[in-house]
């Protein structure tokens, strides 16, 4: 059974990894490029923390989907109400991340107050975690499979392998460490973070509005 679970998770992760990257890239790239790093080592740590956040989120969902089944993981409430709220949270974090370092806002006291928190490497873990629990289509497919195979251990194993397989697509982001030495790229990344935040905000509103329509 375990070999089957591993193979299925690996196949799903490898076949849909580009989809995962497409979902997480708008979150990861601006944040990875927005801060000056000391070479590839720091860049690797930063990317690892983002991925670790995703891993924690995946394992959490693996446990929930494996133990509770359809009752929670596929509840309409989660998809209709929680996902837009997660998008709004992501949007706010990205906008705050972007504007706190952009001139002339960076000089204001509130921005200077939150700069250490926003620039902390644990901020990447938080973003990774939120990006991880914001279900994208491959993630929902993984949940569907975990519900089918049932069991907490199977759920954890499936999501762990799924995470490893999808993380392979994130490896090119290690190159971010090379580009962060250029101030112009860091500024562009901060502006991109704000644009991405606005984009996620618009997606959240677009997802919330149809759900208000009742049959």
């Amino acid at each position: 059974m375990s070999a089957r679970v591993i193979f299925q998770a690996l196949a799903l992760g490898l076949s849909t990894g580009s989809f995962c990257l497409g979902f997480c890239l708008p979150v990861a790239l601006p944040v990875l490029l927005g801060a000056k790093t000391k070479g590839m080592g720091t860049s690797t740590i930063r990317l690892s923390l983002f991925l670790f956040g995703r891993l924690v989120a995946y394992l959490l969902f693996g446990i929930i989907a494996g133990s509770l089944g359809t009752t929670l993981a596929h509840s309409p409430f989660l998809r209709i109400r929680i996902i837009p709220l997660l998008y709004i949270l992501l949007a706010l974090l990205l906008i705050i991340y972007g504007i706190t370092e952009l001139n002339p806002l960076a000089r204001f006291a509130p921005c200077r107050f939150i700069q250490p928190t926003i620039n902390s490497i644990w901020f990447l873990f938080l973003l990774g975690f939120i990006a991880g629990i914001s279900p994208c289509p491959p993630f929902l497919l993984a949940i569907t499979r975990v519900i089918d195979i049932a069991g907490i251990l199977n759920g954890i194993l499936f999501f762990f392998i799924f995470f490893l397989a999808t993380s392979l697509y994130f490896l090119p982001l290690l190159l971010a460490g090379f580009f962060t030495r250029f101030a112009l790229i860091r500024t562009a990344a901060r502006i991109l973070a704000v644009i991405t935040g606005i984009y996620f905000l618009s997606l959240a509103i677009a997802n919330l509005l149809p759900s208000l329509y009742t049959f």
Binding site: F19, G22, F23, L25, P26, L29, P30, T70, H74, P76, R79, I80, I83, C136, P137, L140, L141, T144, I147, D148, L184, I185, T187, A188, A189, I191, L192, I195, T196, Y199, L203, A206, N207, P210, S211, Y213, F215
Partner: protein
Amino acid sequence: MPDKDNRWLRTLFLSVLVLAGVALTILPHWLRTGRRSIQPIILEAPGRFYPHADTPDSIDIIFRLTSVTDPDLNLSIIDVGLIETLVIDTSAQVRVILGLTTPYCPYAKELARAVLDTIVNTPGVKNALVKIDPNLIRPLR
């Protein structure tokens, strides 16, 4: 003057970088997930005219819907449990809410069309409305 030129060049380069970033991150995201936001599929059609037909009952419609199969599973949508709600009002208007077996099911519209065709061909139905709610996921166990 060189400083001013430099500033323009810098702004231009920055704009190019931001646009490249948008093209690299937001565009693929929008193409893959943004366009496919959680939207229900709603189809509506008037029923066929059958003279002297009585208002249909739910058993009759459910019986007819057993002939509609999920194209992927080749099982009846009744057996799979996709029918979430079936309402027949006093004016013989039938409303059905369907779920899906998997998120982003490629057969969703095809399924809605098949259900609608079956209902409108039931004697006595004045009007039929079928809604597929993509938030209702019924994984096959």
